[in-house]
């Protein structure tokens, strides 16, 4: 049952992906300039050869068909800029880094965000609650590209506690700042979401009924209140994964992390069409997949959902 549902969802994701590739393709090509417009002047014959090699001499819709055919085979094409590498190679190198960064930020956001929201709801209108709420509002309002430089200034340059960037195997200190910077807006949002839903749940009749049964408060919170309060947070994790991805593009750039987010930025600057599109395809698949996982988890947690 669950498997069939998951399979159907994956199938229905294919047209979504195609539309996404289509839009991204035309957007990238509509940007002025091309991959071979550099300061160095290239001889016209060489230029014509290059254009032919990469099908750039063909009309745009033909190029799109070529590209679509190629990605259907799982081939994201050659990189225009890093001549010796295919886009598949570049993504295979960068993806694990980006994925670890994103997964760490997401886990941190869910755990810390839910805990903060829960405490705020339990000690409603107290100093604890007001502090958490203030943090939430600021965290949601201030974007990652402001938080990250401030954190670098404070913890790397002033206090010299943590490195300002880089990503070396096995060096944990490299993770701290980027993961926190990436997670912070999500922590803030999840805390606010969790606070609201927890307050609603705590005011519900079934929680009062649980108290009337004489159950200990810890059991009521753990068994009766946590799951219903967490479900809205769970549904938010689909959009949150998209937020983490957008954030990681900026964060990888600021902290010089060799993930696909950095290729995305570099590719866009260099008009490296295939690289940009390749990253878009990977991001699209990730978001679709995250939403699927969230929906499956929801169906598993909520007995009322039928699929």
């Amino acid at each position: 049952m669950l498997l069939r549902y998951a399979f159907q969802r994956l199938l229905s994701a294919i047209p979504t992906l195609m539309v996404m590739v289509f839009i991204a393709f035309y957007l990238v090509h509509s940007a002025p300039g091309g991959p071979f417009d550099t300061e160095k002047v290239i001889a016209p014959e060489v230029r014509a050869n290059l254009d032919r090699l990469y099908h750039l001499d063909q009309p745009l819709h033909k190029q799109f068909i070529y590209y679509l055919r190629s990605i259907m085979r799982g081939d994201l094409g050659p990189s225009f800029r890093y001549r010796d590498y295919s886009v598949n190679d570049l993504i295979a190198a960068g993806f694990p880094v980006s994925f670890k960064l994103g997964a760490a930020a997401m886990s941190l956001a869910v755990i810390i965000g839910s805990l903060l929201g829960m405490f705020a709801a339990l000690y409603r209108n107290s100093v604890v609650d007001n502090t958490i709420q203030l943090f939430s509002v600021t965290g949601i309002a201030i974007p990652g590209f402001v938080i990250a430089p401030v954190m670098i200034l404070l913890f790397s340059i002033d206090l010299k506690w943590l490195p300002a960037g880089g990503w070396q195997i096995g060096r944990w200190s490299d993770w701290v700042l980027p993961v926190i910077a990436l997670a912070l807006p999500q922590i803030a949002y999840i805390a606010r979401l969790m606070r609201g839903s927890m307050i609603d749940v705590l005011n519900s009749v079934y929680i009062r009924a649980a108290y009337a049964k004489g159950l200990p408060t810890s059991l009521i919170l753990r068994r009766h209140a946590f799951k219903p309060a967490f479900l809205p947070v769970l549904s938010y994790l689909g959009p949150a994964s998209a937020g983490i991805i957008t954030g990681s593009v900026v964060i990888e750039q600021i902290f010089s992390i060799p993930g696909i987010g950095r290729y995305f930025v570099q590719g866009a600057i260099n008009r490296d069409y295939t690289l940009v599109l390749g990253v878009v395809v990977v991001y699209g698949i990730l978001v679709i997949f995250a939403n699927l996982v969230v929906d499956l988890l929801y169906a598993w947690l909520d007995p009322k959902v039928e699929y």
Partner: protein, 318 residues
């Protein structure tokens, strides 16, 4: 033996528009094994009284007065002490069966936890007892049904489940807040029969909150009529329904549809219930009363003991 003794109980809230009085100086006592009906219009403080008895008022509530249950002054108990009584010696069935069960937990979880907490039972034993109790309360195939979730049951079934859960520890006192209001007529009759039957079997003391004098007539020994957070009249059901002394009780009974009254125009009491923030100085019913006297506006009526040992709070009745 007197099982419950309520002395001068009040519940107040500080609200933005002023001090709200939900329950206003209520006293009564109940003998073990008897059934008390509490009747009154919406907002008269019935549920607040029940919540006070359960020790489940919001933290913003200010409660005064004494509640003595089985010789213990439970109104002085702290949360942990109360916890051992709730669900164990005093149980409650909530007003709305659709929302009083946790939609995310199976019946098995919601029932067994009561026995596991109060009687230190193992899960298996608790499950067996819960199944027996469901069967006693009229749920078919309880062995399989107990693993279902609340949304798989109709309103009437859920009310049975709530009653079964409340009865698990064989409480000495059961408070049922409008146990039949949300149900259709035939289901109402079944639930009333169920309550009557378990009350009889277990010699349980029962407090039933209702709008419906039909429920009172079929289930209760005594009845308390509330208005504006106060007691208007208190007495034995047989006598009070035959011969209501308070103009408010009379009005309520007259405005009740019965088969005998078909065709005739029903009486409809003029005016609205009082705002609990601005309760009048005298009798709260005075603005709507057909028999009001000059002193009703300013002087709170003292209880008048009627010939039938009932009690009425009314200047006109003395």
């Amino acid at each position: 033996m007197c099982i419950l003794d309520v002395e001068d109980l009040s519940v107040k809230y500080a609200t933005r528009s002023g001090l709200l009085t939900a329950v206003n100086h209520i006293s009564f006592s109940l003998m073990q094994g008897t059934t008390l009906g509490i009747v009154g219009e919406s907002g008269s403080g019935k549920s607040q009284l029940a919540m006070a008895l359960m020790g489940l008022l919001d933290t913003s509530a200010r409660q005064t007065g004494k509640i003595i249950f089985d010789g213990q002054t439970i109104s002085d108990f702290d949360r942990t002490q109360r916890r051992h009584i709730n669900g164990n010696r005093i149980a409650m069935v909530f007003q709305d069966p659709m929302s009083a069960l946790n939609p995310y937990l199976s019946l098995a979880t919601q029932m067994t936890e009561v026995l596991m907490v109060h009687q230190q039972m193992r899960y298996k034993q608790a499950l067996e007892q819960s199944i027996t109790m469901l069967a006693e309360c009229g749920i078919d195939e309880p062995k399989t049904r107990i693993h279902s979730y609340p949304h798989e049951f109709s309103g009437g079934m859920r009310q049975r489940i709530l009653i079964a859960t409340a009865l698990l520890c064989r409480p000495a006192l059961l408070i049922a807040d409008e146990p039949t209001t949300a149900l259709d007529v035939s289901m109402q009759a079944q639930i009333l029969d169920l309550l009557k039957q378990v009350q009889h079997q277990q010699k349980m003391t029962l407090i039933v909150i209702t709008h419906d004098f039909g429920v009172v007539a079929s289930l209760c020994d005594q009845v308390m009529v509330m208005y504006g957070g106060q007691v208007m009249e208190y007495g034995l059901v047989a006598e009070l329904l035959q011969q209501p002394l308070h103009p408010y009780t009379q009005g309520l009974l007259e405005s009740m549809p019965t088969l005998k009254k078909t065709g005739k125009q029903l009486y409809s009491m003029p005016g609205d219930p009082p705002d609990p923030v601005y309760l009048p100085q005298g009798c709260p019913f005075e603005p709507r009363c057909r028999q009001r006297l000059a002193e009703c506006k300013t002087i709170k009526p003292e209880p008048v003991i009627a010939e039938n040992a009932g009690m009425v709070f009314c200047h006109a009745a003395s």
